[in-house]
Amino acid sequence: MNAMKNSLKRLFVYPSAVMGIVVALTLVVVAVYAMVTIPYDEAIRLWRGGEEVWYQNPKFAPPAWINLFTSKKYSESFSVRTTDGSILKEVTPGEEGTSTMSASYTFDFFYDVYPQEMILYFTAKFSEKQPFISMEWLTPDGRKIRIANLAIAPKQTYRLSQDEKLKTRLKSEDVIPALFSDPETGELLKGQYQLLITGAMFEPGSDIDVEFVFHGQVYGIAGTDQSRRDLIVPLLWGAPVALAFGLIASLGTSVLTMVIAAVGTWYGGWVDELIQRITEVNLVLPFLSILIMIGTFFSRSIWVILGATILLSIFTGSIKAYRAVFMQVKESMYIEAARAYGASSNRIVFVYLIPRMIPLLIPGLVSAVPTFVFLEASLAVLGLGDPVLPTWGKIIEDANSNGALYRGYYYWILEPAVLLMITGLGFAMLGFALDRIFNPKLRDA
């Protein structure tokens, strides 16, 4: 325990170790936060969800904070509805069971770029007679534009940009810019806009609710992708997946490699021979290609890929490196002493040989984590990621297949890429520092 404490104390001497620990701990915190706030089932539902889950979000929207770096301000997205009181609704009863509804929503628009779209979702309660709705648009310069009058079905979606009548009325193909600009100059008009909705219901007990969805040009802190999904979900959930994959693969590979090398060295003879030959064959086999084959023909589940990765990574060069050290340790006096007192071979392997290797194991284990994190991302980019799990690699794959870089959606690639790089850097720095502590020969002076 004391030795452990001393090692930790020495760790803080190295700034790179401190950085590495900070990065690793941050990742762990993010991972735990992700798993607590978005439970697994919810994350899968959100990630696999389509329009019905994500209708409130714009497509391809960069994160909102890019406004800090641009001279043109992009409009943010929002959605408001009558059901939760964010749009106030007034219902006035009329004669013979009829009633009128009126609702209005006022908002400030001080941005430099037109929003993507405005959509109204109506839900109406009635038995025979359809309620009737009329909508009006009030601009900052006091103009009042009639948008549409329509009879509504129990569920009705009205997209402003798709209304042909509105296009003719505004004398423009692009409805949204026309609504937000000065008709004389054609320039964008900043100020307070208002949406007025009045409804007429012709039955007692009839009711109308409305949701106003405003698709701006930017969204949230991570932006959205081609299916309007909030990228914060895969970015957050990518952390536990990457950490789990990296740590399990690294730990599994290192420990199994070491145990197998120790067993081979201790028993020698055909056991050692077999292990060495398997290693040599495995060394010339193309690792990534085999994984791609497994992913293509067998299963893309992350657990299958993880298992295959560990199996293929056991018999690699490190088994030879461990063997070389074990050969040396095997001849030490205390091993012979242990044999003399009647320690069984298993005991010698696990109590005498393997503990000697821990100082070599720990730095190697930590340094190997990024390799496996990147491997998982590479497989995802190649289209072999787990079809269910949201991961950083999947974001890059989506971005790639949607031409993110050609279309200027840099955020889409950069967000997961930066997270991957920070993860790799953190573990690598920690690994190097650990290496210096556990292998004093590397220390200068």
């Binding site: 006096m333 002493a337 003399a340």
Partner: protein, 320 residues
């Protein structure tokens, strides 16, 4: 079949040959000797005469390049050479006899606390739990004179003498009836040597243990020895009681070996034996000492048998 006699240890025709690229090394060549309970035998001989190989052969700690390994080792009347590897490990090592290996100070695992290290054989062989084993370890530390608080130290925190005592405690912990000590004092200063020898004497007295002490240090070993066996070129050339042997060794080699010990207040210079011991790969016909022996005569071209004389045994034609 003759019943094996009920001695603590009886070795008959023990052979251990190694294969090397230069030829077969006859490290232990048909060695016979026996030992009673609570006796100490010293095996004397110069470096490379097969003393350590004899210890290895007795405990079956064989390297990979064994050419020939055979003979009988009766421990309490049972031929342990008949045991298979697992039986041998369970019933002989540390149960029947334990070993304090050569350079015992380096025979402690550097990453295990010495207390745990000493407890290991007890846990392996007596099947007891750690806590019980640690009580035993404390008792053993008392026997060999290691302070109790050393239990949680690592080997590098101990001096050479202390490490040697710990190795001795480890050999004692399963209370075997026989302990093999392979040059237990060779790397220690004189005071520590004397200390260790006193510890061994006390243990012999208190626990009734038998010792086989392998050494080339005649002076120190004479302290403990009840019996002496002299080894030369893989064979035992003389066996006898210490009280007979030390004043008047019989075999010419033993005589010259004794004469090489420097003496206090003596006019004569210490002697040395001219020539080299024969290579264990290419052994001469007849007596193996003949080439260096000042008393050699024609008969020495034939191998001498073990000749008995007044309860002593010597492998030399002079005593025919």
């Amino acid at each position: 079949m003759n019943m094996p006699p009920r001695k603590l240890l009886q070795i008959e025709k023990l052979v251990l040959h190694f294969k090397t690229s230069h030829g077969v090394v006859q490290a232990v060549d048909s060695v016979n000797f026996e030992l009673d309970t609570n006796r100490a035998v010293v095996i004397l001989g110069e470096s490379g005469c097969g003393k350590s190989s004899l210890a290895k052969a007795m405990l079956r700690l064989l390297p990979r390049n064994v050419d020939k390994y055979g003979g009988s080792v009766y421990l309490n009347g049972e031929d342990v050479m008949m045991y298979d590897e697992d039986e041998f490990r369970r019933n002989v090592r540390w149960v029947g006899m334990s070993l304090v290996p050569q350079a015992a100070m380096n025979s402690l695992n550097p990453v295990i606390r010495v207390g745990d290290q000493v407890a290991e054989p007890a846990m392996v062989h007596l099947g007891i739990r750690k806590t019980e084993a640690m009580t035993l370890v404390r008792r053993m530390f008392q026997h060999v004179g290691v302070p109790e608080d050393f239990i949680s130290r690592y080997p590098f925190e101990l001096s050479g003498g202390m490490r040697q005592r710990v190795a001795l405690a480890m050999a004692l912990v399963t209370s075997p009836s026989l302990i093999l000590l392979d040059e237990p004092t060779s790397a220690l200063d004189l005071l520590t040597q004397a200390n260790i020898m006193n510890v061994l004497k006390r243990i012999k007295h208190e626990l009734g243990t038998s010792f086989i002490l392998i050494t080339h240090d005649i002076a120190t070993s004479s302290e403990l020895a009840d019996e002496v066996a002299v080894m030369y070129a893989g064979q035992i050339v003389e066996v006898g009681h210490a009280k007979d042997f030390f004043p008047a060794p019989l075999h010419p080699y033993a005589q010259m070996l004794m004469a090489s010990v420097p003496r206090l207040r003596s006019e004569s210079d210490p002697m040395f034996i001219t020539g080299q011991p024969p290579s264990l790969i290419d052994l001469p016909e007849g007596c193996r000492f003949a080439a260096r022996c000042p008393f050699r005569f024609e008969k020495c071209n034939e191998e001498p048998p073990m000749l008995g004389k007044n309860g002593r045994k010597v492998k030399c034609w002079l005593y025919e």
